[in-house]
């Protein structure tokens, strides 16, 4: 009764340029940690093999250090690892794989399936048919040969491929590398382990995308899992157990502020989000000059709490209320200018006007703070 851990799209070496440097480093690190956790899980679950369905590396020319760190992260599981190349790390004439081999970084238990040849694990009772990518993009279905492959009878037969299932995932696919939806049936596979789609997805009882183990974009298609696959015997339907393994959920929020109590609600909502989350917050509506100061305090607190907090205030209009102007002691032409700028927010140079207003408000507040201190 062979048992596998199915994973894919580790994309080691990925950089997060949109984030602050320390967040970016932590998120990149998290992908290696995910591999370590997979190794630990594989060890705990005593699986017969870990199937990695491509895109192990994010790019061909990652640094030597990154290559070594990946294979080091796999140390906790000493059973066979079966890795195929994907579109990001295609087995070209010169590739990250040939470099890894030259470096001597690949441990004996890691089987790099870089050619379409049958891999037999007779003792464990299974064979693996790999369909690695040897070009960045391929038009033909690389799993075609599965149908004709000769395998010893009575052994569990596993397919391992990277690409997009035809007719199911029409959009949002990473590459045009096509895979027939009924491949598991036509090739009489017990299980077809797929990579490329970053969310966990069941195509049919024998065909699954594991998704990436660590989320890397704001898309709620159920990423951050690995699949624990049990196949009772050859020909039997596999049992697939979805296990969450990722550390950082990516959360996108859009909130509307109209009245001052909306700000309190925002605070509550932010508090509800898990601590290690990567949050993208977009605010709409309008806020008073004083309210804006409060909002900035709130965001500052939230920033400290999450792994990363990004916010977009471009649709948040600044209001200069009578109270604002009075509170800021913006008398005479200064007050008049604030009102002018408030109205100009809507115009072509709205951004400059809003910024100018904010600066003016902060200067006045600062002055007041100084005045109060006297």
């Amino acid at each position: 009764m062979p048992r596998f851990l199915h994973t894919a799209d580790w994309q080691i070496g990925r950089q997060y340029s949109k984030f602050a440097p320390d967040d970016a480093v932590a998120l990149a690190e998290a992908r290696l940690t995910a591999v370590e956790r997979i190794a630990e899980l594989a060890d705990q679950e005593a699986v017969d093999a870990v199937l990695v369905a491509g895109d192990v590396f994010d790019a061909q020319t990652v640094s030597d250090r990154t290559i070594r760190r990946l294979f080091n992260a796999m140390a906790a599981y000493t059973g066979p690892w079966l890795l195929i190349s994907g579109n990001h790390d295609a087995a070209l004439a010169e590739s990250v794989w040939t470099r890894a081999q030259r470096l001597g970084a690949v441990p004996d238990n890691a089987h790099l399936a870089l050619a379409p040849d049958v891999l037999e694990f007779i003792e464990a009772g299974f064979v693996v048919l790999p369909a690695p990518l040897t070009q960045r993009h391929t038009q033909p279905d690389l799993t075609n040969w599965f149908d004709r492959a000769e395998t010893p009878a009575g052994l569990v037969c596993i397919g391992l491929a990277h690409g997009s299932i035809q007719g199911v995932l029409a959009e949002d696919v990473d590459s045009p590398n096509p895979i027939a939806a009924d491949r598991a049936a036509t090739a009489q596979l017990d299980y077809l382990a797929l990579g490329d789609w970053h969310g966990t997805k069941r195509i049919n009882a024998r065909t699954w995308y594991s998704g990436t183990p660590e989320q890397d974009r704001f898309k709620g298609n159920d990423p951050g899992n690995v699949l624990l696959v049990d196949i009772p015997e050859a020909g039997a339907e596999p049992r697939v157990d979805v296990r969450a393994i990722g550390q950082h959920p990516w959360i996108q929020m859009t909130e509307r502020l109209t009245v001052s109590s909306d700000l309190d609600q925002l605070v509550t909502k932010l508090k509800q989000q898990p601590e290690k989350a990567v949050v993208a917050l977009r605010l709409e509506g309008e806020i008073s000059l004083l309210g804006k100061q409060q909002l900035e305090d709130t965001l500052s607190v939230a920033e400290a709490r999450f792994r990363s907090l990004g916010y977009d205030l471009s649709d948040l209009r600044l209001l200069a209320t009578e109270e604002d102007i009075a509170a800021l002691h913006a008398d005479g032409y200064v007050g008049q200018l604030i009102n002018e700028l408030r109205d100009e927010q809507e115009g072509d140079d709205g951004e400059a006007a809003r910024d100018a207003m904010a600066i003016l408000a902060s200067m006045l507040l600062e002055k007041q703070a100084r005045g109060g201190g006297e």
């Binding site: 949109k18 640094s63 070209l92 032409y333 002018e340 600066i359």
Partner: protein, 878 residues
């Protein structure tokens, strides 16, 4: 505001209380000489307002030397219908009491009320200074500072704007200026004055650009890396395919086959060349045979030709033979004629000779005659000469000796005279019978003797008298005379004469003879220059020649009359000679021609014979037959060779040897190229592999991604700064615009009041104020042009006038804003001329319609026409 009463005591000059009441609402003129207390009054008013009652820095208020005093000022004034009374004491009694309509404000409270009413500040420490004075500092002019306006307006600025702002409603802002400064400062940290990025903004831009450059550089390298990877894959495929095909081996095999074919064709070509050679040889033989046959036919014709030639030569020879006799006859005649001519010439020559000899004989005969005469005469001369010479010999006298003799004789005469003169004279006068001897000679009677030498006079019976002539001269003369006498004798003997006269006679004789000899010698020389012998020899020789000629002429024939002249005989011989030579030449030529003709004939005969013999040879027929047979054989052979060559040529052409050669070359080259390509591919493979391994280790894409991140951050930072710069720029512009607008609104009424006063001074003039409301430029109309004078460049007097006008204008503004105005002028306008002062009085009078003015002066005369009664400060103190 109207000041009603002022009282001061224990204050400087006013030890006793001084009180001024009933102050006028308009101008109040205070006069008095220097140090009469005018300034003390002013100081009292200032102290009452500006100084804190608690201040200990107001010692100057105490009367001189009275440190125990408590300077006190009391002021009553009216403001907005309310009565204000201020009583303020300093130093010894520090107190301030302000009563406003019965309400008392004491101490600091009172002071604050005053300061906010008038718009000034108190000094935090020490005495009040100009910067604290605010609006009163502008309206109360101290002595000697009337021309200053910038500083007072500056210190009054905030109060002025606050006070005047009331009129402008919401326009003024309490924080505006500070905000403008802050915004400008913030802006300048990001933008330069001209709006170019600077500081951290410029840095952010540079960072972004730098990163952009680095990124595109590394992206280029990533692209290059990918291209290399693709190339590597392609090369590997090509290499595998090439290894499988091994094309170069196929090409080599094909080349070998083509070479075999080519060798075969080359063998044919060799055969062809050989046959071609044979054909050429065959053709040569045919030609030779043909030539031989032609030769046989040609010889027959040649013989006929030779026969003709022979006959022609025989004819020519005969012709020459016939011409011989005539030639010989002509020659003989010519010889004869020549001989005759020669003889004639010889005879003519003999005649010529004879004539010449006859002429010579005649000449000789003439010579003989003259020479014979010459000889006779010469002989005669010669004998005379000989005779004379003998005579001369006998005369033999030397003219030089004669000359010497002459000299000696005359010297002797001279000496005799001299001796006579110097010698001792011995005169005797003896008695008749007595005698003496002188030197042995007896002397008697009377005589005189000259003694030249010592002489002894012996006197008988007496003895001897020795007379010694004195001096040397006598002796010397005697000696000289003796010598000369000796010489004379010797000379005479040499000349064999007895006297000089004889010698001279003989010398004259000799000279005559000498002349005769010379003449004869000359004549002889003329007749016979070479001597008598030579002349006679010549004569003999001529005679001999004459005899010889006679015999010679005898041998020659006599000349007859018809004999030819020599020249004609010569001419005749010459032409005979020529005729002879021509005849000989003609004869010779004929002989030559004849022998040539003979040779030709011989040759022609021989040729004919040789040819004839040949033609008559016995094997000639056989040879001709043989040649004809050979020709037939050769022609057959030629035909067969031609056919063979043609056929083989076709064969070779079909095999196309050139194309075969090209095939060999092409295939070999293809094989080389295929191998070369394979090698090149291997090299490139190794190179690319090495390059990729090196580049791979750098982690290019990871670097690229990292740079991308950095760039993203740089762009974000640049955008933030850009937004901030833009916002600050906007704020800066807008705040300034607002303030400018405000300033303009303040400027306008001030300008109006200024110009109101200015018209009283300069019609059509205007005074411009800057944004700080300080007078800046005075514009006047003069001579049809506009004159612009900056305030600080105006004369002292004009500045004082403009400053006062400005102050009055401010006062008008304040009045309009409902603020109190009190104007105090201490010794104002002292630098104005009479005309300007007059105008300024009108200005002041006009201002006094609205404001209370206190005017202090030490020149009462200047202000008499101000329309008010002056108060004498001295009288006040009374």
């Amino acid at each position: 505001m109207r000041l009603l009463r002022l009282k001061a005591e224990q204050l400087r000059q006013f030890r006793e209380p001084v009180e001024i009441e009933d102050l006028d609402a308009g101008i109040n003129l205070f006069t008095g000489p220097n140090e009469s207390g005018k300034s003390t009054l002013v100081r009292a008013i200032r102290a009452a307002f500006f100084e804190r009652h608690k201040s200990s820095s107001v010692d100057d208020l105490q009367p001189w030397g009275d440190s125990a005093s408590a300077p006190t000022v009391e002021l009553d004034f009216e403001w907005q219908g309310q009565s204000w009374r201020l009583v303020k004491s300093f130093l010894k009694k520090k107190r301030c009491d302000l009563t406003v309509d019965g309400t008392v404000y004491s101490g600091d409270e009172g002071e604050e009320k005053l300061s906010s009413l008038l718009g000034y500040e108190y000094a935090a420490k020490g005495a009040s200074q100009q910067r604290h004075w605010g609006i009163p500092g502008l309206l109360w002019v101290e002595q000697g500072t009337g021309q200053e306006i910038q500083a007072p307006v500056g210190y009054a600025g905030q109060h002025l704007k606050a006070a005047l702002g009331g009129n402008l409603g919401e326009m003024t802002s309490s924080t505006g200026d500070e905000l403008i400064n802050q915004v400008a400062k913030e802006r300048s940290s990001l933008l330069t004055g001209t709006g170019r990025p600077t500081g951290s903004y410029a840095q952010a831009l540079a960072d972004e650009q730098g990163l952009q450059g680095q990124l595109s550089d590394i992206q280029g390298r990533v692209r290059e890396y990918r291209e290399h990877v693709d190339r590597l894959g392609q090369l590997r495929d090509e290499q595998a395919r090439a290894e499988a095909d091994r094309l170069w081996e196929t090409y080599r095999q094909q080349a070998k086959e083509a070479e075999g074919r080519l060798a075969e064709v080359m063998a044919w070509q060799k055969d062809q060349d050989r046959d071609q050679q044979a054909l050429e040889e065959c053709q040569t033989s045919i030609q030779t045979t043909l030539d031989l046959l032609n030769g046989f036919q040609g010889q027959q014709a040649e013989l006929a030709r030779r026969q003709d030639e022979k006959v022609k030569e025989e004819l020519a020879q005969a012709d020459l033979e016939a011409r011989k006799p005539a030639r010989e006859k002509a020659l003989a005649e010519a010889v004869q004629a020549h001989e005759a001519a020669r003889k004639t010439l010889k005879l003519a020559q003999q005649h010529q000779q004879r004539r010449e000899w006859a002429r010579e004989r005649e000449g000789i005969e003439a010579d003989l005659e003259s020479d014979t005469a010459k000889l006779a005469r010469a002989r005669e001369l010669h004998s005379v000469l000989l005779e004379n010479r003998q005579k001369r010999q006998s005369l033999d006298i030397d003219p030089q000796v004669v000359e010497r003799l002459k000299d000696v004789t005359s010297e002797l005469d001279r000496l005799a005279i001299q001796q006579d003169a110097v010698s001792t004279r011995l005169q005797f006068d003896l008695t008749d019978d007595q005698s003496v001897t002188l030197d042995g000679k007896k002397v008697v009677g009377r005589s005189e003797h000259l003694l030249i030498e010592p002489g002894e006079v012996a006197i008988k019976g007496v003895g001897t008298l020795r007379v010694l002539p004195g001096g040397e001269d006598v002796a010397e003369i005697a000696r000289a005379r003796q010598n000369l006498t000796d010489e004379q004798e010797s000379l005479l003997s040499r000349l064999r004469v007895t006297s000089l006269a004889e010698a001279e006679g003989r010398l004259s004789q000799l000279r005559e003879l000498q002349q005769a000899i010379q003449r004869d010698e000359s004549l002889l020389n003329e007749s016979a220059p070479e001597g008598l012998e030579a002349l006679s020899d010549r004569l003999r020789l001529r005679q001999a020649r004459k005899d010889e000629l006679a015999s010679q002429m005898q041998a020659l024939p006599e000349q007859d009359d018809n004999s030819l002249s020599l020249s004609r005989a010569e001419t005749r011989l010459e032409s005979a000679q020529q005729a002879l030579e021509a005849a000989e030449a003609a004869k010779q030529k004929l002989t030559g021609d004849f022998s040539l003709a003979e040779q030709s004939l011989n040759r022609a005969k021989k040729e004919w014979e040789r040819l004839n013999n040949e033609l008559q040879a016995p094997d000639r027929k056989q040879r001709q037959k043989q040649a004809e047979n050979r020709l037939i054989d050769l022609r057959v052979k030629q035909r067969s060779l031609n056919e063979k060559l043609l056929e083989r040529n076709k064969q070779i052409e079909q095999a196309k040897p050139a194309v075969l050669e090209q095939d060999v070359e092409r295939l070999n080259r293809s094989a080389d190229a295929a191998e070369q390509q394979e090698k090149k591919r291997s090299r490139e493979l190794i190179q690319i592999q090495a390059r990729l391994e090196a580049a791979g280790a750098e982690g290019l894409e990871e670097q690229s991604a990292e740079l991308g991140s950095e760039l993203e951050h740089a762009i974000r930072r640049r955008r933030e700064l850009e937004r901030r710069a833009k916002a600050l720029d906007l704020l800066n512009t807008r705040l300034r615009e607002h303030r400018l607008e405000l300033t303009r609104q303040l400027q306008e009424p001030l300008q109006r009041h200024l110009n109101h006063y200015l018209q009283l001074l300069f019609p059509e003039a205007s005074l411009e104020v800057d944004e700080n409301l300080i007078p800046e430029v005075l514009i006047r109309q003069g001579h049809g042009v506009e004159e612009r004078g900056k305030f600080e460049e105006l004369s002292f007097g004009a500045r004082e006038q403009m400053a006062l006008i400005s102050r009055l204008a401010y006062a008008d503004l304040l009045l309009e804003a409902g603020r109190p105005t009190l104007i105090i002028l201490d010794d104002a306008l002292v630098h104005s001329d009479a005309a300007r002062l007059g105008a300024m009085k009108r200005v002041l009078y006009d201002a006094a319609q609205r404001h209370q003015i206190l005017l202090f002066t030490c020149h009462p005369d200047n202000w008499r026409d101000l329309g008010v009664t002056a108060r004498d400060v001295e009288v006040l103190q009374g």
